[in-house]
Each structure stands twice: as structure tokens, then as C-alpha cells.
């Protein structure tokens, strides 16, 4: 097996498994940059996956055909934002502990999604969809030697969308007034408030955006990878996205890179047995790699990761 064959096996797989992580991690960036911890990414992603699976299924029934996954993405984003609004109300308006509220979101999403699945389909899982996002070669770009084969052939459109959205999030956060406000609210809400920025409103927008993007991540996972929703569809991808966000130092492009890297680790752990040299590495090391790396990054051993300063503290007007 030549080196190119190995890359051709691993890289597209990595990009595929990274896409849902990228969306969800970007959601996390919005929420945490505004100062609200979002442990609930896992639950938001899970509910997005459920909504995605249901919408695609009924979209097919209604004859939407190939458009149904794309319709499901929009629906999952809306429902994800609505679901995240519970977290927003609890942690911003009611000043609940943000971590506890996030944990409750995870419980609620898992319970409600399976409850509704059983109610609607009378079974523990949704029917398998036939209209998945299909793999395709990107015209022209896939003809580029080396790079074309690795990055632009036989890949899902959603993966490129994920990279594109990461660039948009970077632009919004660092090049627009809204982004500056969002970041300032997460660093020093009192100073932001003094400058006339509405802290509560800005944080609400941050959390709702995180819900929308995590919902999208879940729906993309169903449309490109799993094909239906069961209780074991989303088991930890949300937390891995959280890890990617932290490993990427709360920066959209960092999160993108980290998610791609974690996707690579997953891809190797799945297809590593076919690769000479990697066969001997126990799979477990690849499975735990993202988590170990995140811990090391936080400990400052792999580049220091500093959280937004006001992360996790509710803002109370007039409090010193």
C-alpha cells in the first residue's frame, strides 16, 4: 500500500467524521465566547439528530426527494435554537448554574428524543432514510493532482459547508461589530454594559446560535453518517465537539482545525487496521487521543488554552 493510497483512505474519512463536530464546536464558540458555558452541546446535537432524522423521513414521504436533507438542516437549526433557549433562560435570566443547566439539557434531550421516537414510530429507532447527502466529486477541483484526489473527490458537500461556515464564524466574530460585542460580553460584561452593549441580549444570541449550529451538527451526522436516529446515534460527539472547541482555544478556526484532527483520529481508529505501521498501535490509543490531547492542552503542555474571562459567571447589573 503506497503512502498516497493510505492518505486517500484516511483523509476523506477524516473530513466526513469531522463535519458534524465542526458545526457543533462552532456553536460552542458562540456560546462560550459570550460567557455562557455550554455542556449541553451533546444534548443539543442529539436533539438535532432526532429532528434531522424525523424531518428527512417525512420529507421523503412528502416527495421532497433529494431536498429533504437540506430542509431538515434548516428545521434542525430552528429547533436546536428553540431547545437552547431553555438553557439561555435558565443560565442567563434565572442565573442558574450554567454547568448544571447544561447537564439538564443533556438529560432532557436524551429523554425527550427517545420518548418521541417511541411515540411516533412505535420503535426504538427512526426508519432508515434513503435520501442521504450523496458523495460527489467537486468539478475541476477534483482534477488537481494529489490535492484533488485527497480533498475534493468522493466527499460530502456538507464537509465543505462546515469549513465555509467556520470561515463565516471567524469573520463574524473578528471582523464585525456584533462579534466584538459578543467577545467583550464574554470577557468583561460590566465594561461592555457601560459601553451600552446589552449583555443579556448578546448572550441570548450567543446561546441560541450555539443551539442552531449544534442542531445542524446533529442533523448532518444523520444525513451523512448514521442514516437514522437511535439511542446510540449521538454518544459523546457533542462532548468531543466541546473538546475540539477548547483544544482550538475558543477560536473558530482553531475549533475547525481541532475538529479535523479529532476526525482524523477517529478515521484512523476505524480504518487503521488496513494501514501498515498503524496496525500494531492498539485502537484504544486512537480512541482516547482527542480527550488526552485536550487535557494536555488545558494543562498548558500543548499550547496554553485560556477561557474567556467571564465564562460561567452570570452577569448581575451593579455587582462589583
Amino acid at each position: 500500500m503506497s503512502f498516497m493510497d493510505i492518505l486517500a483512505l484516511i483523509v476523506p474519512a477524516a473530513i466526513v467524521s469531522a463535519a458534524p463536530l465542526i458545526f457543533t464546536a462552532l456553536g460552542g464558540v458562540f456560546s462560550e465566547r459570550s460567557g455562557v458555558v455550554n455542556i449541553g452541546l451533546e444534548g443539543l446535537m442529539l436533539f438535532g439528530a432526532f429532528i434531522g432524522a424525523v424531518t428527512i423521513y417525512y420529507g421523503e414521504q412528502l416527495g421532497l426527494g433529494g431536498a429533504s436533507p437540506w430542509v431538515s438542516f434548516v428545521v434542525a437549526m430552528i429547533v436546536g435554537a428553540l431547545f437552547a433557549s431553555i438553557h439561555a433562560v435558565a443560565s442567563i435570566s434565572l442565573k442558574a448554574d450554567q454547568v448544571v443547566s447544561g447537564v439538564a439539557i443533556n438529560f432532557l434531550a436524551a429523554g425527550l428524543a427517545i420518548f418521541l421516537t417511541k411515540k411516533i414510530f412505535n420503535a426504538g429507532q427512526t426508519p432508515v432514510i434513503s435520501e442521504r447527502i450523496s458523495k460527489s466529486d467537486i468539478p475541476f477541483l477534483s482534477d488537481i493532482p494529489v490535492i484533488g484526489k485527497l480533498f475534493f473527490s468522493n466527499a460530502y458537500l456538507t464537509s465543505y459547508l462546515a469549513v465555509f461556515v467556520a470561515l463565516i464564524v471567524w469573520y463574524v466574530l473578528y471582523k464585525t461589530p456584533f462579534g466584538l460585542r459578543l467577545r467583550s460580553v464574554g470577557e468583561h460584561p460590566m465594561a461592555a454594559d457601560t459601553m451600552g452593549i446589552n449583555v443579556t441580549k448578546t448572550r441570548y444570541i450567543g446561546v441560541l446560535l450555539s443551539g442552531a449550529l449544534a442542531g445542524l451538527g446533529g442533523a448532518v451526522y444523520v444525513a451523512s453518517i448514521s442514516g437514522n436516529f437511535t439511542h446510540s446515534t449521538i454518544t459523546g460527539q457533542g462532548f468531543m465537539a466541546l473538546a475540539a472547541m477548547i483544544f482550538g482555544k475558543w477560536h473558530p478556526l482553531g475549533a475547525l482545525g481541532a475538529a479535523l484532527f479529532f476526525g482524523l483520529a477517529q478515521a484512523i481508529s476505524i480504518s487503521g487496521t488496513q494501514i501498515p505501521g498503524l496496525q500494531d498501535i492498539p485502537k484504544v490509543f486512537l480512541l482516547i487521543a482527542p480527550y488526552v490531547l485536550t487535557i494536555l492542552a488545558l494543562a498548558g503542555l500543548v499550547g496554553r488554552a485560556d477561557a474567556p474571562k467571564a465564562l460561567g459567571t452570570p452577569y448581575e447589573k451593579g455587582k462589583r
Binding site: 435558565a90 429523554g111 427517545i114 468531543m240 477548547i246 482516547i288 480527550y291 487535557i295
Partner: protein
């Protein structure tokens, strides 16, 4: 004022539970089930006969311990979401001792439980050290440690302890907490002696926190790190200790599964959920030993009762998960409960 605070301490959990059940009922109504019938079935599934009582108490044992783990760390101002992982390594350690050590029961059982506690303590102390030494937030590290524990324990079972059926062998009888006596008085439920271990642990937690210097220091650090530092308390040491003790409770919760309920360890595709439920139990129990026992009784009961609810009223068991989530929300947002209480009180006066 003191009196009012005391009253609120009991009222917030109570009202949260009632609100949770109420909204759960509304969800059932909206989705076309019979909430009254369902709740009757649920409570019959908890109290209707000694079999159900036995199952509820069996379910309680790991829940008490995981609740104690979360509550203990909370007292030092730490949020241990890593109970799940500490539970898994504890489960593995107890089963390992249960299989590979030969000893009479009087030594074997305590040894296996201690091994579980030590493994959990070790696993829990890692985030503690990272927090004390590098100021890394324990929430993130404990979540990461959960996944590392899940994959590592599976790998160890697969490579060293595998028996047919994706699990380890059964533990030796001398390490087992199973009790034919308890089973026979509860119409052959799966009740085992673990509940005694759990209750002893609850007493130990209370004693440690409220009757020892160590407990005083731990609570002081939880109230105000800077003041404690200034008073000469070694904050770093207390953070590591708190996580280690919390992890030990969690590890012992794992031994409840290993030595009691299952007698072996499976290769887990996903988390057991017991560790996460511990967060709910600790929150509802206001981080006190007695509160945790009561909280575990409630949630353990709900989980067992859910099975009856499903078979009689046809409501999926997951509804109980939704109700538990709602209860956590309301406890976390005690603001709402306070607000409601104030409204009611004012209304009463006028």
C-alpha cells in the same frame, strides 16, 4: 430569616419534584397518554409489593454512592462530572479483585470494595491535581477522563479478562455481595447487601465533612478559596483530596454493580448513566448525606417504577428521564421557586 432559609431548603426540592411531575404529566397528555393512569402505575411499580421495593433499593445503592461523590466535591466548590468514569474504573478494579484474588469472604469483599475506591480515587485525583497545579477547570477534565475510562476499561477487559458474551468472567462467590436471604424476602428481586455499604458511606461522608478538621477545611475551601488560603489552609491539597475522596465514593458505586448487581463487568458501548444521575441526586439532596439518600430513593424509585408504567400504561420509560431533567432544571433555577413562593406568600397576606 434563619427559619425561612431552613424552610426553603426543604421546599425548593419538594416544589421542584412536584413541578417536574406536573410537566411530565402535561407532556404525556399532549402526546396522547393517560397521565393519571401512568402515574398510578408508576407508583405501584415502586411501592406495590416487596419485589418492587427490593428492586428500588437495589437501584438506590449505586445512586447513593454516585450522589455522595458529586455532593462531596460540590462541598469543596468542585463540580465532579467525572463520576461516570471513576465508577467504571472502580467497577473494573472490584471485578479484577473479585476474580483474581483468593480470600475468605470477610477479607475478600472489603478488599474488592477498597480496590474499587482506590481506583476511583486515583482517577478522580487526576483532575484534582490538574486543577490545583495548572488551574484547569475540573468540569472539562472530568468529562474527558470519562471517555478515557470508558475506552480504557473496555480495552483492558477485551485483552486480559474476556469471557464469552463481551464481558468478564463472574467474580468468585467469596467476593459477592449477592444475598439469597435478601432475595428470598423480596420475592426474588436482585437486591443485594450493597445498600448497607452505601448507607455506611453516607454516614462516613457526613462524619468526614462535619466532624473532622479535614471536613472543616474542605468546606472552608468550598466557601471561599482566598479566605481559606489566608487562614493558612492548603487549598491545593484540599482540592486534590476532595476529588480523590469524591472519586473513591464513585469507584465504590462501581463495585455495587461489579460485586452486587451483575457479578461481572461488561464491555460498555456507552456510559451506565449512574454517574450522571448522581448529579441529579446530589442537587436534589442539597449536597447533604441524608438528602442524597432521599434523592437516590426518589430517582431509584422513579427508574424502577417506569418499567411498570411502560408495561401497564404504555408510556415509554424515557418519560422518567424527562421528569428527572425537569427536576434538575427547577432545582437549578431555584429563583423561580423563590419567586413563586413570594407570590403565594404575598397573595396570602392580602
Amino acid at each position: 430569616m434563619q427559619n425561612k432559609n431552613n424552610k426553603m431548603k426543604y421546599l425548593v426540592p419538594l416544589i421542584s419534584v412536584l413541578l417536574g411531575l406536573l410537566i411530565g404529566g402535561i407532556i404525556m397528555l399532549v402526546s396522547g397518554y393517560q397521565p393519571v393512569e401512568a402515574y398510578v402505575a408508576l407508583f405501584q411499580g415502586i411501592f406495590g409489593g416487596s419485589y418492587y421495593a427490593g428492586e428500588t433499593i437495589r437501584q438506590m445503592s449505586p445512586l447513593i454512592l454516585s450522589g455522595l461523590a458529586v455532593a462531596f466535591a460540590f462541598r469543596t466548590g468542585l463540580f465532579n462530572i467525572g463520576v461516570e468514569g471513576q465508577l467504571l474504573v472502580g467497577w473494573l478494579a472490584s471485578v479484577y479483585v473479585g476474580i483474581f484474588v483468593d480470600a475468605p469472604a470477610i477479607i475478600h469483599i472489603p478488599l474488592a470494595i477498597l480496590a474499587a475506591g482506590a481506583a476511583g480515587a486515583l482517577w478522580g485525583s487526576v483532575p484534582g491535581i490538574l486543577k490545583a497545579r495548572f488551574k484547569v477547570h475540573e468540569v472539562i477534565t472530568t468529562i474527558m477522563m470519562n471517555y478515557i475510562a470508558l475506552y480504557s476499561t473496555n480495552e483492558i477487559i477485551r485483552n486480559f479478562m474476556l469471557a464469552p458474551g463481551e464481558r468478564t468472567e463472574n467474580i468468585k462467590e467469596s467476593a459477592s455481595l449477592a444475598s439469597p436471604f435478601l432475595q428470598s424476602i423480596t420475592e426474588y428481586s436482585t437486591l443485594h447487601y450493597g445498600i448497607i455499604v452505601a448507607l455506611i458511606a453516607a454516614v462516613i461522608m457526613w462524619f468526614l465533612l462535619w466532624r473532622t478538621t479535614l471536613g472543616y477545611e474542605l468546606r472552608a475551601v468550598g466557601f471561599n478559596q482566598h479566605a481559606s488560603q489566608y487562614a493558612g489552609i492548603n487549598v491545593s491539597k484540599n482540592i486534590v483530596l476532595s476529588m480523590a475522596i469524591s472519586g473513591a465514593f464513585a469507584g465504590i458505586a462501581g463495585s455495587m454493580e461489579g460485586l452486587g448487581t451483575y457479578q461481572y463487568m461488561t464491555i460498555n458501548a456507552a456510559f451506565t448513566g449512574v454517574g450522571f444521575d448522581g448529579i441529579a441526586v446530589a442537587l436534589l439532596g442539597a449536597n447533604s448525606a441524608i438528602g442524597v439518600v432521599l434523592g437516590a430513593a426518589l430517582f431509584g424509585g422513579l427508574k424502577i417504577g417506569a418499567l411498570n408504567m411502560q408495561s401497564i400504561a404504555g408510556v415509554p420509560t424515557e418519560l422518567v428521564g424527562v421528569v428527572i431533567a425537569l427536576i434538575i432544571f427547577f432545582v437549578a433555577c431555584s429563583y423561580i421557586v423563590h419567586w413563586l413562593m413570594n407570590r403565594v406568600n404575598k397573595g396570602g397576606k392580602i
